[in-house]
């Protein structure tokens, strides 16, 4: 099938960038969206043009490397699906697709569809861990944790850090990402000792990185490839208030 692509091209952070149009004449319905970009790139290379740069690695929806806005939706039209797992069978011959990078001032564009998401690493560095040095751990079964609790913690821990939540949010807020880590660790007994400090430091870091505020649009939850619930954001707010009141 034939697919028309309108792709954002930008040489670097200071370049203004523009859309370019391309045609892939023989896309296959079984291929993934990133494989479509591969085929386009092979075409461009043979035409002597620069291929479209995009981040990718696992291509199974778990590493969080990939992430582009497809027709206005972060990761594209399929729910709970990172764009590396989006397949072309959801399109038909002759379709046009618009492809853009994540857009947020806290995620500067590096080239084409590649953005700098290092702000996420700094948010985790501000407190998204348990301070337990290697060797200091008690026996793994020393503290029982009810199954329902650990299952809920897992739901938050499943975040892949792709940044779709930021890209989808009208305020470019990183609340869902930050809340996921805070909620994961707040639920577990291991996370208790640093619970108050963690939420304060992580939320402050999120603000320092230039992410916007959350105003409950819930667009983040809708595009999250792992279906992380915005209930986490309520938890984060509650934890923050509790922590600041007790300080």
């Amino acid at each position: 099938m034939q697919i028309k692509l309108k792709v954002w091209r930008q040489k670097g952070p200071r370049d203004t960038g523009r859309f370019e149009e391309y045609v892939v004449p023989d896309a296959n319905p079984h291929m993934s969206f990133l494989e479509l970009l591969d085929v386009l790139n092979e075409q461009l290379i043979m035409e002597g043009k620069d291929p479209v740069e995009f981040d990718h690695d696992c291509r199974e929806g778990i590493c969080g490397s990939c992430g582009v806005v497809v027709d206005g939706v972060a990761h594209g039209p399929q729910q709970r699906t990172a764009c590396c797992q989006l397949h072309m069978r959801h399109y038909k011959d002759g379709d046009s697709i618009v492809v853009e990078p994540w857009r947020a001032s806290a995620f500067p564009i590096i080239r084409d569809l590649v953005v700098d998401r290092s702000a996420f690493d700094r948010i985790i560095g501000a407190g998204g861990y348990v301070s337990v040095s290697t060797g200091a751990a008690p026996d793994a079964n020393a503290i029982p944790i009810p199954k329902v609790v650990v299952d809920e913690a897992f739901d938050y821990a499943a975040c892949i850090g792709c940044g779709a939540c930021v890209a989808a949010c009208p305020n470019a807020s990183a609340s869902l990402f930050t809340a996921a880590k805070i909620s994961h660790l707040a639920l577990l007994p291991q996370g208790q000792a640093e619970r108050a400090q963690r939420v304060v430091n992580m939320v402050d870091q999120m603000e320092a990185e230039g992410f916007g505020d959350c105003s409950n649009h819930a667009e983040c939850e809708a595009v999250c490839p792992k279906g992380i619930s915005i209930k986490g954001i309520a938890t984060m707010r509650r934890e923050y208030i509790k922590a600041t009141l007790s300080q």
């Binding site: 040489k11 670097g12 296959n28 079984h30 291929m31 494989e35 591969d38 085929v39 092979e42 461009l44 290379i45 043979m46 002597g48 620069d50 291929p51 740069e53 990718h56 690695d57 696992c58 291509r59 199974e60 778990i62 590493c63 969080g64 490397s65 797992q85 397949h87 069978r89 590096i110 080239r111 590649v114 998401r117 290092s118 690493d121 700094r122 985790i124 560095g125 501000a126 861990y129 348990v130 337990v132 040095s133 290697t134 060797g135 200091a136 751990a137 008690p138 793994a140 079964n141 029982p144 944790i145 199954k147 650990v150 299952d151 897992f154 821990a157 892949i160 850090g161 660790l185 577990l188």
Partner: protein, 639 residues
């Protein structure tokens, strides 16, 4: 030609070796640790765990990874679980049993002492991960749950849904993040190591390329830890992440690190089959599916009928037929090879005829769709997302795919390579899995190396070596940086007629056809010729777009494919030289009358370590004899 260094296995009883090693090593005093810079390349389970642990001890660590964040290393994709000898289920597990299963599973081609240490350390890993907040699966009473995995009769696998690797890696990443924020680790993401720098015969630094700007950078340290993962992508299609590569290891090989057992590769039986030429990677389906799915193909070659219309007596449940006692649960290598045989006979299914059915109809009849959904729901969903077919209604189609590489840089008991000061951890080394790795043991090994082995062995090296002061102005840095620059310029200047991907795919076809599941003298000889021809063509005819001073994925891949084109030939040579069948290495000339793998313990009970000679086609072979003092070598049988 340099001799193979001693393996430095401590003397004494197997059970006491690790303790006596720890008792005898030199320690670095806490104040002095701050004076030592350590380079850790890679942030997967091995590198992440090592960087965090060393920084906690007080070393100044510099960490490097290709991805934009250390959290994205390939380890993130591991699904099934991690082994440990906790014996929480009280089903008879011990450190000895975990050791024994791993040695036997590896078809007696690994070092007893290393494997035993791994089993001993396994329990501390689980403790550490739980303390970090890893949400392992639990029972209703709140205690940790275990499942069973291939090659073991006990339940010793800890898991976090189908995302164990993700959760373990995030634990290590978070521990690293704490040290990065504290200033003890300097993190260099989006960097690729392009060369190793040796000064006075010791590893003292690396050359990296900044993948955003193209700049070549020099980094100096007192030791270099290579934690750069496996080389399965030499086959082009594999379950490895796209950025997984051999470049870091290969560059070290060219600087004196011997490459051990390169031909040992693991081919996983249950992957989603290739659907077309554009295919860029393969997706694994957990082998737990074989607990309830039945594997079959039609009896008639080329049978065009839909699976549900093929009557029972015209189906061949070939695993159940050939291996009545293990049936669909035979080990990975046996299941993979048999799938290949039936497809070679023309009985494969699907459009490409390179697939077999994994059928859940009987299990659904027996247990109900709901029970199957509870067990495998997420896997069925993943299958449907990729193939567009509903496996509750139509049998899955599966085919083997390259998954893991047991071979890697040779290391001694302390994980030190044949270059002093260069340590190799995780999948990048050859150490613990022999000729075949058991499920759930790679995560265990990566974390054991990083959390609990290297903090001791590195300390011993630092405390017992007198390292001269050196700087990045040293000639050795000039030479290495110039070599890296010349190579990049050469790659960009060829501007030939074929893309990097085309060359990679071609190499993959050669490797898969001749150095894959089943190997012959003739096929391997053909492969050697074809690979070296392809390598020559690559350097004449590759087309790399763009320039160096930019984010340029194709340029990155070009360098990696160039190294795969050298490695591939050595893999074929290693496979040709190993005239026996062992684990993942199956030579058709060496099989029993029933078609099972036949080892040759008298002649091949050794590690084959290849030394770079200056000519990639002519490496020099060194052998490390394997002594088995504690286990008796037996023949695996799954009949």
């Amino acid at each position: 030609m340099a001799a193979l260094p001693d393996s430095k296995v401590p003397a004494g009883r197997l059970q006491e070796k690790w303790d006596s090693y720890k008792n005898s090593i030199k320690l670095v005093n806490p104040a002095n640790k701050r004076k030592h810079d350590i380079i850790v390349v890679g942030t997967g389970l091995a590198g992440g765990a090592a960087a965090a642990s060393l920084a906690e001890l007080g070393y100044r660590v510099k960490s490097f990874c290709i991805q934009d964040s250390p959290r994205r290393a390939h380890s993130i994709a591991a699904q099934g679980g991690i082994n440990a000898a906790k014996n929480y289920p009280n089903d008879g597990d011990t450190v000895w049993r975990l050791f024994y299963d791993t040695i036997k599973g590896g078809d007696y081609r690994s070092r007893e002492a290393n494997v035993h240490r791994l089993a001993q350390i396994s329990n501390s890993i689980i403790d550490q991960c739980v303390a970090q907040g890893v949400p392992f699966a639990r029972e209703y009473g709140g205690m940790l749950d275990n499942r069973s995995f291939g090659g073991a009769q006990v339940s010793r696998t800890f898991y976090a849904r189908g995302q164990t690797g993700q959760q373990l890696l995030l634990g290590a990443y978070q521990a690293m993040s704490r040290q990065i924020a504290a200033g003890n680790i300097e993190m260099f993401a989006r960097r690729e190591m392009l060369d190793l720098v040796n000064i006075d015969g010791r590893a003292r630094g690396i050359i990296t390329r900044n993948l955003v700007t193209g700049e070549l950078e020099r980094h100096i340290a007192d030791a270099v830890l290579l934690c750069t993962g496996g080389y399965g992508n030499v086959y082009y299609l594999s379950t490895n992440a796209k950025n997984s590569n051999v470049t870091a290891a290969w560059r070290c090989h060219r600087r004196g690190a011997h490459f051990a057992n390169p031909c040992y590769t693991q081919i996983h039986p249950t992957c989603i089959p290739v659907s077309g030429e554009y295919q860029s990677k393969l997706t694994l389906m957990s082998e737990s599916l074989r607990n309830d799915g039945r594997v079959w193909v039609p009896k008639k070659p080329g049978d065009p009928r839909a699976p549900e219309t093929i009557p029972e007596d015209e189906r061949d449940y070939y695993l159940e037929r050939r291996y009545p006692s293990f049936g669909n649960l035979v080990p990975r290598d046996v299941a993979s090879r048999n799938a290949k045989y039936v497809c070679d006979e023309g009985r494969g299914v699907g459009e490409t005829r390179l697939a077999v059915y994994l059928d859940f109809t009987d299990a659904i009849k027996r247990l109900g769709e709901q029970a199957i959904r509870e067990r495998y729901g997420n896997l069925f969903e993943m299958y449907q997302r990729i193939t567009g077919e509903n496996p509750y209604k139509v049998p899955m189609r599966i085919y083997p795919a390259v998954h893991y590489t047991m071979g890697g840089l040779w290391v001694d008991y302390g994980l030190q390579s044949s270059v002093p000061g260069l340590f190799v951890l995780g999948e990048a080394n050859f150490s613990d899995h022999g000729a075949n790795r058991l499920g759930a043991s790679a995560l265990m090994q990566g974390l054991a190396d990083g959390y609990f082995v290297i903090p001791y062995t590195l300390g011993d090296y630092i405390a017992s070596s007198r390292l001269e002061a050196a700087s990045t102005k040293h000639d050795a840095f000039d030479e290495a940086e110039n070599a890296a620059r010349t190579r990049i310029e050469r790659l960009l200047s060829i501007q030939g007629g074929k893309t990097v991907t085309e060359f990679h795919r071609e190499l993959g076809h050669i490797m898969w056809d001749h150095v894959g599941m089943s190997r012959t003298r003739e096929g391997l000889t053909t492969a050697i010729g074809k690979i070296s021809t392809l390598r020559d063509e690559f350097w004449q005819n590759v087309r790399v777009p763009g320039d160096n001073a930019m984010h340029n994925k194709n340029l990155e891949f070009a360098g990696r494919v160039a190294d795969f084109l050298e490695l591939g030939e050595v893999m074929a040579l290693d496979a040709l030289t190993r005239e026996e069948s062992a684990g993942g290495h199956f030579r058709e000339e060496f099989q029993s009358a029933e078609g099972e793998a036949k080892r040759n313990d008298a002649e091949f009970s050794h590690v084959a370590a290849w030394e770079y000679s200056g000519d990639p086609s002519k490496p020099v072979l060194h052998r490390e004899e394997l002594d088995f003092e504690n286990v008796k070598l037996t023949t695996r049988s799954y009949k």
